[in-house]
């Protein structure tokens, strides 16, 4: 079965990089990818991770006060 992914969207690359670091610290497999066109016309990056970790990632960002735009399923 194909793995399902979420992406976390941020206002800036710097915030996405901080998100990446936080997730890696928790051993969550993340990858920075270009923001899919259907989500935003922005030219930045977003953080992709397996959907199974959605709530964990959300709680992690909120716990660490990392400002993010949204987390959406791909």
């Amino acid at each position: 079965m194909k793995e399902e992914y979420c992406v976390a969207l941020f206002h800036s690359t710097s915030l996405a990089l901080r998100g990446e670091k936080l997730c890696r610290g928790e051993a969550i497999a993340v990858k920075l990818i270009p923001v899919p066109r259907h989500l935003s016309s922005d030219c930045g990056v977003c953080l992709r991770f397996p959907s199974a970790h959605e709530e964990r990632v959300r709680a992690l960002f909120e716990g660490k006060s990392l400002e993010f735009d949204s987390i959406v399923r791909l």
Partner: protein, 385 residues
């Protein structure tokens, strides 16, 4: 060759700095925060890591509050021109570099009131004297942490405390001190810290910036440059968040990759160890020069000085002295006014200027002994050869 011009630019650099810059060029030299492919992300990551390293060095919790610019001048201009408006009052010291005085004089012409607290002839500013100048409503206090002319260090914690009591923002010019003096933005009451990468942080030229504390109203700080940031590209207005609001256009990523290694070098060596070595060098220079007839020494008080010291000689003009140190002894230093006419006026060496010797972490006591010997020779026989 003996290089004693570290206050202008440190030389040599740790080899890791050059290696990191080569690695960036050869392995991932893409545009950070723009394209989203793996190399672009790697380039962005270097920028982020450099912000983290600098934030940790200066004890600023949020690495995104580290703004990059081309040098300390860029950081100082961003703070001064970005925040001060007609009708504002700013208080500064008598030891400032033109990177502060020129933007301030330009702002003065637009209605900002500039007040200079002159300080003592050794360059030090008494925090109580400053307090006396802060009874009127003041927007900002800006002070050069360490002089590029005589190396004197200011008591920034007390000065910052006075600024805070008066409700003024405190801007510190750390061009000479970032990397060789312990700076803690929280403890030292610093709101804005301008730093350069190519001096005591041992990075390449073209790096530096401004660290912006939590008390600074970012929404009121006007960017000096507008343009593409790789974020919020659907809007034609500048993003309102930090650092993007203040960092338009492709940054000096190769330089920042080098700077990151410079900062790592400083943190691994330890600022206390760097201070200790440079203190000993300063003592060696001062001790040596004070025994030479006809030489007048300009240095900060003991325990409150950098390894940057100036002198004049009654037999030879500074420019002539510097040229002969270079040509006859292979000793490289800087002469003249060091872009700081205000500081030279305060210490009493304006307009002739001085010969400045600035040692760095890679300078040895043997270098200092040789330099003092050469200066003694020139001071004695200056006119004859």
């Amino acid at each position: 060759m003996i290089y004693l011009d570290n206050s202008a630019t440190s030389f040599p650099k740790p080899s890791a700095v050059l290696e990191a810059m080569a690695r960036f060029t050869n392995e991932y030299g893409a545009n950070p925060g723009r394209s989203g492919h793996c190399l672009s992300v790697d380039a962005g990551r270097i920028m982020y890591e450099a912000r983290e390293a600098l934030a940790a060095l200066f004890n600023q919790r949020d690495p995104l509050r580290v703004l990059f610019a081309a040098n300390a001048t860029g950081g100082l201009n961003q703070a001064l021109l970005g925040l001060l408006r007609s009708g504002d009052r700013v208080v500064t010291s008598g030891m400032e570099h033109n990177s502060v005085m020129r933007p301030l004089r330009a702002l003065e012409a637009e209605g900002v009131r500039v007040v200079v607290a002159p300080g003592a002839s050794d360059g030090t500013l008494d925090p109580d004297d400053l307090r006396g100048l802060l009874s009127e409503r003041t927007s900002m206090v800006v002070v050069n942490h360490g002089s590029n002319v005589n190396g004197c260090l200011q008591s920034i914690r007390e000065i910052g405390g006075a600024a805070r009591e008066a409700g003024a923002l405190f801007l510190v010019d750390a061009a000479q001190t970032a990397g060789c003096v312990d700076i803690d933005m929280e403890r030292d009451n610093i709101d804005l810290l301008a730093f350069t990468g190519h001096k005591a942080l041992y990075g390449p030229q073209g790096t530096g910036g401004l660290v912006v504390g939590e008390r600074v109203p970012i929404e009121r700080m006007r960017p000096l440059v507008y343009g593409g940031t790789g974020s919020r590209s659907e809007f034609e207005t500048q993003p309102d968040f930090i650092p993007d609001r203040f960092e338009s256009g492709t940054p000096n990523t190769i330089g920042i990759a080098g700077l990151l290694e410079g900062v790592r070098f400083v943190r691994e060596t330890g600022i206390a160890a760097i201070r200790r070595h440079e203190d000993e060098l300063a003592a060696g220079i001062c001790r040596g020069l004070s025994t030479i007839d006809g030489v007048r020494l300009f240095a900060g008080p003991e325990g409150r000085r950098l390894s940057t010291v100036s002198f004049t000689c009654d037999r030879l003009a500074p420019s002539e002295f510097g040229l002969r140190l270079d040509e006859e002894f292979d000793i490289l230093c800087r002469v003249g006014l060091h872009c700081a006419p205000a500081a030279h006026t305060t210490i009493g060496s304006f307009p002739e200027g001085t010969v400045r010797l600035s040692a760095g972490f890679f300078t040895t006591q043997e270098d200092i002994v040789s330099a003092v010997k050469a200066i003694r020779t020139l001071a004695k026989n200056g006119e004859s050869s």
